[in-house]
Amino acid sequence: MSAVVDLAASTGVTGSLGAVAYGLAAIGPGVGIGLIFGHGVEAMARQPEAAGMIRTNMFIGFALTEALALLGIVMPFVFGK
């Protein structure tokens, strides 16, 4: 990762590549979590009796998707210098 930072710095760009990495990594899970909760709310509105079951599965899906976004914030520390 330092090679890319050096290359970027030589052309006048400085900063943290990890921040850019997290920004890119948060796009997919952002869309995904929006889809999960959107569909969950719609399902709960269509059938309020099933709200408990829908809420449970909604939170499971949210945690699985959020894991990918959090991998994005942790990996720069793992791979970085």
């Binding site: 943290s16 499971i60 945690a63 894991a67 959090l70 991998l71 942790v74 720069p76 520390f77 970085g80």
Partner: protein, 265 residues
């Protein structure tokens, strides 16, 4: 990572992963090549274990038929694990796993909540040792259940060669299924818990250290109020994430056990 932080005045030290490493309090104890000592993480892990044991002992020492007080509260949570997690996901055959899953849920929850308790303020699951150990326990458990239920070859066939797939597809499906079940599951389980706790601790540290840094007699004192308010909101969010991560770890463990027991619903 060498983050370049541009501020009006130099001097704010952003928290890094070095802030998760604590110095040893006791002298080092060498045993068989390992270098052991007690630092803040280890001390807090012992504290979590003691809290969980004491909670259960106090609640269920002399159980009444009609529960009151602490027994009532603990019965609500035990029922939540028993009905909401185990019976929902595994079914009736899963009741043998309720003790382990209840302990797992409580231990992870108390360990995560330590991140917001004033004075302690360090989630023990933000160091990889504990999440990977719990994930390995889960891995041993669901593989052992599968092997005991179906035999070694039967379980391998169930994992690597799922039914209902035309046989030429096995060239593609078998490596993916094997890796995703045997290799990826413990990694994602542990990293999900670890990353949530690291991110939460870093967020709280940034906002409260930032409040202290901004509270200097200049225009930035106004922003210190905003930083503090956001920090307080994040404490509430961290409590929610603590419970959610404990719930997710437990329900995924239950789901893996249920899948090993009988493939598919």
């Amino acid at each position: 990572m060498g983050a370049v932080v541009l501020l009006a005045r130099a001097g704010f030290k952003t928290p890094t992963t070095e802030d998760f490493v604590w110095p040893c309090i006791t002298p080092h104890w060498r045993v068989g090549g390992a270098d052991l000592c007690i630092n803040r993480t280890v001390g807090l892990t012992f504290f979590t274990a003691i809290v969980v044991v004491v909670l259960f002992l106090l609640a269920f020492r002399k159980p009444n038929i009609v529960p009151t007080g602490l027994q009532n509260f603990m019965e609500v949570v035990v029922d939540f694990v028993r009905v909401g997690i185990v019976q929902e996901v595994i079914g009736e055959r899963g009741l043998i796993f309720v003790p382990y899953l209840t302990t797992l849920f409580f231990f992870i929850f108390v360990g995560n909540v330590l991140g917001v308790i004033p004075g302690l303020q360090f989630p023990i699951n933000s160091r990889m040792a504990l999440p990977i150990f719990l994930a390995i326990l889960t891995w041993i458990l669901f593989n052992a259940v599968g092997i005991r239920e179906h035999g070694v070859w039967g379980y391998t066939k169930m994992v690597c060669f799922p039914s209902g797939v035309p046989w030429p597809m096995y060239i593609l499906v078998t490596p993916i299924e094997f890796v995703s079940t045997v290799v990826v599951r413990p990694i994602t389980l542990s990293v999900r818990l670890l990353a949530n706790m690291i991110a939460g601790h870093l967020l709280l540290t940034i906002f409260f250290l930032g409040t202290a840094y901004l509270l200097q007699p200049s225009i930035t004192a106004l922003f210190a109020v905003a930083s503090f308010a956001l920090g307080v909101v994040l404490v509430g969010f961290e409590m929610f994430v603590a419970g959610l991560q404990a719930y997710i770890f437990t329900i995924l463990t239950a789901q893996y056990i249920g899948e090993s027991h009988s493939a598919g619903h």
